[in-house]
């Protein structure tokens, strides 16, 4: 199985993480004045979720954690080494797990869906896929920038 070049994976991670920073920042700003994100599709789901006690952990809006997570992921896209690959994977894994938990809360505890939270969960899921592919494909590689680099390094780009 051949993987996309690491440079392409890094570009994709940077793009999706930047979108994530935007979405999480919007949620945090909308919530900061005691308000709620505007549900573009109508309904009161965003208001219900924002008013729920689950929207804050230790007084901090969960969107702030999202901004930090996306920012770290964005940062890892600028480096082509194992530290960046592994940090990106762990951050995306944490974000993905947290998104599953938050989606569970929306569906079964709060009983309302906020489309901005769903958008963030989708972005984090994509990032987890990209970061996992990057780690599996290029862990231990000098630089998996292109097909040549991947070929020149056993185990990189063509994992067993």
């Amino acid at each position: 199985m051949r993987y996309p070049t690491e440079d392409n994976l890094r570009r994709a991670i940077a793009f999706v993480a930047a979108l994530g920073v935007g979405v999480a920042t919007y949620i945090a700003i909308a919530d900061s004045g005691g308000g709620a994100p505007a549900c573009l599709a109508g309904g009161s789901g965003c208001r219900t979720v924002a008013d729920s006690s689950y929207s804050h952990i230790a007084g901090v809006n969960v969107a702030i954690f999202g901004i930090v997570g996306y920012a770290i992921l964005l940062g890892t896209a600028f480096f082509a080494n194992d530290l960046a690959r592994f940090t990106g994977f762990l951050t995306a894994l944490g974000g993905f797990g947290f998104s599953i938990y938050l989606t569970y809360l929306e569906l079964f505890k709060i009983e309302a869906i906020c489309q901005w939270c769903v958008a963030s969960a989708v972005l984090m899921t994509i990032l987890f896929g990209l970061a996992a592919t990057r780690l599996i494909g290029y862990a231990g590689a000098e630089h998996g920038g292109g097909a040549r680099a991947a070929k020149s390094d056993p185990g990189a780009g063509q994992p067993a």
Binding site: S44, F86, F89, G97, E111, A132, L135, D153, G155, A156
Partner: protein, 255 residues
């Protein structure tokens, strides 16, 4: 800038010195740690979900549920005090209930929505809730709180939302914080006024009066229902019917 170049040079040299076997070891270690992290993450998410699921005891002022569902159920239906439905409806169903009573909660969730949709929204029937407080002191406070919400046109929202978030009876959950959270969730606009009125002698006296009425009628438990309409001679006691169908038959006979 020069120090950055030096760092890059050192890094390139380190990588040149590293054999393919070393890189393979590093890759294996990283992937092993990553796999461990995946298992750990799965475990953490499962534990969080299980812990949250086990907290279904209700009575949690900080996490009210079904606010939207109650709004949907009662949206557009007229309310006057604790009477739900068109004031001109000829048939009246009277429920004597205790907000702490779990059987009343079951009726509220499983039987009354069907009746509200079928009979109340059409204007045929109105339902009056009367407090019959038999469980504890907090039942009286809760009943007065519902009456105070009724004074602002949100009495039935209060009752329905209370039932859907009810805790274990007499466990002390129905405190000021819980009652206030229900009022806010029920859409009571003037919380200051509600707070003053719910503690008034007038409303606590009204709770005592309807409880005394229920005892006088010989009711023995909650919820107890009665029906009154053109087809009845005064108030006809139904007791505790087992199904919505039984109540509907009584309502039809009363019309």
């Amino acid at each position: 800038m020069s120090s950055r170049k030096e760092r890059e040079k050192r890094r390139e040299q380190r990588l040149r010195e590293e054999s393919p076997a070393d890189r393979g070891d590093r890759r294996t270690k990283l992937l092993q740690v990553a796999a461990g992290a995946v298992f750990l993450a799965i475990a953490v998410v499962v534990v969080l979900i299980v812990v949250n699921s086990s907290g279904e005891g209700g009575g949690d002022a900080r996490n009210l549920k079904d606010v939207a569902a109650v709004d949907r159920l009662l949206g557009g239906v007229p309310q006057d005090g604790l009477v739900l439905g068109d004031p001109k409806a000829k048939v009246e169903l009277i429920e004597f209930g205790d907000l702490q009573c779990p059987v009343c909660k079951a009726y509220s969730e499983e039987i009354l929505p069907e009746l509200i949709d079928a009979k109340v929204k059409s204007g045929e029937v109105k339902i009056a809730f009367r407090n019959y407080t038999i469980i504890g002191d907090q039942s009286t406070a809760a009943g007065a709180a519902a009456l105070a919400a009724g004074a602002q046109g949100r009495g039935w929202n209060y009752i329905e939302l209370f039932y859907r978030n009810q805790g274990v009876e007499n466990s002390g959950y129905a405190d000021d914080e819980f009652l206030t959270a229900i009022a806010k969730g029920a859409g009571v606009d003037d919380i200051g006024r509600w707070n003053k009125e719910r503690k008034s002698a007038k409303l606590t006296g009204e709770v005592s009066a309807t409880t005394a009425e229920a005892e006088r009628l010989g009711l023995t438990g909650t919820p107890s229902f009665a029906v009154e309409g053109p087809g009845t001679e005064g108030m006809e006691i139904l007791g505790t019917p087992g199904s919505a169908g039984e109540i509907e038959s009584a309502l039809e006979a009363a019309s």
